[in-house]
């Protein structure tokens, strides 16, 4: 059990059965008055923000969250299925909860799944993934038009800008944190 004195940025607590992450926190005590603990929190399931001010002596239940390494198996419609390779347990996450990560996930990719009890609520990707370019305009050797990048589509359907020398069928490394081209994979 947490008390008001434990509240701080980064703490995860349970409110009305949902896990909330404290994104901003301040202690304040208006002249000779009582201590007030002001928080801004984000619902970790649906992303809604909450502003709450608490008094001394209130108690809070910690949100029990777990991060487990799993393998992305496949996508069916809007359901993404992951498997824990130790226990062979499978979890399904909705596309909305997967978010932008869906642009970089290929079958069998190893990821960290955030679990709230039995419910998968988020996924953390490795910083870099390798994906094949499925569509891009050919680069004419000797083209000196001066363009330093061109659009390309990779096998997940995601589009990004790549250097002009990248050809269709090539494997490239993408930084999942920025969604940008990082480097070409040789060989």
């Amino acid at each position: 059990m947490y008390t008001s004195a434990d509240l701080k940025k980064g703490l995860k607590i349970l409110i009305d059965g949902a896990p909330y992450l404290i994104t901003a926190f301040d202690f304040t005590k208006p002249g000779k008055g009582q201590a007030l603990y002001r928080t801004k929190m984000r619902n970790m399931i649906n992303g809604t923000m909450l502003d709450r001010t608490y008094r001394s002596g209130e108690t809070f239940e910690p949100a029990s969250l777990e991060e487990r390494q799993m393998e992305f198996l496949y996508k069916e419609g809007t359901h993404y299925t992951f498997m824990d390779q130790q226990t062979y347990e499978q979890v399904i996450m909705e596309e909305e909860a997967v978010g932008d990560a869906k642009n970089f996930m290929l079958d069998n990719l190893k990821v960290d799944v955030l679990l709230f009890g039995e419910k998968a609520i988020g996924v953390t990707l490795p910083n870099f993934v390798n994906l094949r370019v499925t569509q891009t305009e050919q680069w004419a050797k000797g083209d000196t038009s001066g363009n330093d990048s061109k659009p390309a589509t990779v096998e997940t359907g995601y589009t990004l800008r790549v250097p002009p020398f990248i050809e269709e069928g090539e494997l490239i490394t993408i930084d999942t944190r920025t969604g940008e081209y990082s480097t070409r994979v040789k060989g």
């Binding site: 004195a5 301040d26 202690f27 304040t28 005590k29 208006p30 002249g31 000779k32 008055g33 009582q34 201590a35 007030l36 002001r38 001010t53 001394s56 002596g57």
Partner: protein, 302 residues
Amino acid sequence: MDQRDRNLYLRANIIAAIREFFRTSNFLEVETPLRIPANAPEEYIDPYCSEGHFLQTSPEVCMKRLLCRGHQRLFQISKCWRRQERGSRHLPEFTMLEWYRTDSDYTGLMSDCETLLSHIASVCDCKGSLNFRGKLLQPTAHALRITVEEAFKRFGGKEMREAVKDGSFDELMVSSIEPALATIDCPVILMDYPREMAALSRLKAKDSPVAERFELYLGGLELANGFSELTNPQEQRLRFAEANQRRLAYGLPQLPMPEPFLSELDRMPDSAGIALGIDRLVMLFTGAENIDEVVAFTPEEL
């Protein structure tokens, strides 16, 4: 050298300026004991224990006893300690300036605040403007005086009396009134607090619901708390007892009465006293958003 270490220079200059201001105005600087048998009992202030005694939460008890001994203008810059006060504007150990005068009531202190701010502004060479939290402030301007009742009506969306009764006073101060004060560029004097929030102040009149207490704000930052002093020992003892009763109701320990102070109180002349947070003042003049940036060490760094 990072910004915090540069701030320490300005801090030193501000403290020197404060001393000069009071000395040239004929205030006597004193040092009173930091470890004392009893602070003034307060509902929401918890002192640190020190082997049967307590660290001071404010020098006021000793300062007032000096007034009882015949001193007329006093000031002190000292460390104070308050348990469990830690936030972007709070430190459990902080530096307080207090000054007392027997030749005026709380309105005299309000003028002192204005002249003190102007003096510090001139020493800091800020050309009359401060940039604080993205807003340009005018520390040398005449302070806007507004009663707590007016502030609640204008910014709080509720009558002050009602907020006291239903317990939402502090929350409304923090959520509505202080943010509104932050939009005002001159110093603001919030005056005439409800008697329930002014245990050591004289009431405006017998049985008045408000007391002669004010708070100085600049840029929405609470800087100082001043009042016309209560000099009736029976009433003071009663107010201390009420504070202890409320502490008991919250499960907080009762605090001992400062007996020598209470027994000398009938000898205290009419006077006014004020406590100003020096760390907060330095925050304003350095543009620091967090009190951590204006002290040499935070408790977490020790």
